[in-house]
């Protein structure tokens, strides 16, 4: 059998091209899968926290725990409020008793008496899931139990989670924890059952001072999306590259 040089080169080229084709190219998508892959959600949920308006009442934490059946007296919470007291010598005292569930009623910070004269600045910072664009917690899930919805919210499939805890470790913001009743990973869902019905999240609705606001980042007429687009806002731990979608007004360098 004789093979010409031309034939050999041709066959080699075709052969290597065929070998380079990924198996995915031959995969048939069901109509639903194809639709889901093409369809874009009209929403992208985001959040705006104005720390200058927060008074540390903790009604958001209380409402969140009750709305989402997070065991009330366990040391776990989907959202919490941190208190920062920065003294004249630059020392930062930070605390969040019970996640701020019962508000901040004591002048003592972490059992320390603080002289009011020595306080340079003090403020409250509400924290919740950042619903990142590139969520580290989703990437590490070994079973596909946590995912990003088409409208940008990161959720957990309680029937599929095996409780390995990788996501709890992966989240740079520490918003995930283990649910003692369902025995699965748990986190803030932006009250998905509320926002999908056109309501605001429980924490937003129960904040008297407007420190928390839900917004649709794809709707450029949304008043809070406008604030994010036109004013100076910051995100937490930008350097992790997770692209958080909770934006803050009035952050300080002490806030991590």
């Amino acid at each position: 059998m004789s093979v010409s040089r031309r034939d050999l080169l041709k066959k080699t080229l075709v052969g290597s091209a065929a070998a380079a084709l990924p198996l995915d190219a031959f995969k048939f998508l069901s109509p639903e899968q194809a639709k889901a892959a093409l369809a874009e959600s009209p929403h992208r949920w985001g959040f705006l926290v104005d720390t200058t308006k927060c008074v540390g009442c903790g009604f958001c934490v209380k409402a969140c725990k009750k709305e989402n059946d997070v065991p009330y007296d366990e040391p776990i919470t989907r959202t919490w409020v941190e208190r920062y007291v920065i003294t004249n010598d630059g020392e930062a005292l930070v605390d969040s008793p019970h996640g701020g569930r019962d508000g901040f009623t004591e002048k003592k910070v972490m059992e320390h008496d603080v002289d009011p004269e020595s306080i340079a600045k003090a403020f409250f910072v509400p924290k919740l899931c950042n619903q990142c664009k590139s969520p580290a917690c989703v990437q590490v899930c070994p079973v596909g139990a946590t995912y990003q919805t088409p409208d940008g919210v990161v959720l957990i499939d309680r029937s599929w989670c095996i409780g390995c805890g990788y996501c709890v470790m992966a989240c740079p913001y520490g918003v995930r924890f283990f649910h003692p009743v369902h025995k699965v990973a748990e986190k803030c869902t932006f009250c998905y059952h509320r926002i999908s019905k056109g309501l605001k999240t429980a924490c937003v609705d129960n904040c008297s001072f407007g420190a928390r606001q839900l917004c649709d980042l794809k709707d450029h007429n949304d008043p809070y999306t406008k604030v994010i687009m036109t004013q100076r806002v910051a995100v937490l731990k930008d350097e992790y590259g997770t692209k958080p979608q909770v934006f803050y007004i009035g952050l300080d360098k002490e806030v991590r």
Binding site: C54, A63, G103, W160, H193, N206
Partner: protein
Amino acid sequence: MKTHVLRPLILAIVLVSCHLLFRHFYVPDDFGVNGKNFTFGFYRAGSIDDWKAIPVKYKGKELCAECHEEQYESNMASKHSIIQCENCHGPAMDHAETEEPLTIDKSRGLCLRCHAALPYPGSQRSELPAIDPEEHNVGMECAECHNPHKPSLEDM
């Protein structure tokens, strides 16, 4: 083919088929790449509906106003109009249908969430009307003197 090749081969085929069979019945049909890509969108599509199906507990002030108009009006005329009824009365849940009484939190601690004086420059907290809880009528409930719906003593 020799038996020492055939036997492990059959065993391997049986094991793989068992695995595939189990997987076929165990993994839901809607499990797969449902989102934009495998990294962030590999999940069971029905899970989204599970989350949507959760009932709403905090119904909001407007629902309260439908029956409790008088209290709503008096509250909306005061500084406490910014507070949700459910912050003190508890989540409404299906109160509108069952009319099951709600447990009202009248405790001193509830009021102190905002009105315990904290000298915090740069925070809106220091701008709220505030008292020192260790000096101001210790041991009394705030509601004994102040009407929580319109708390200013001048308005009473």
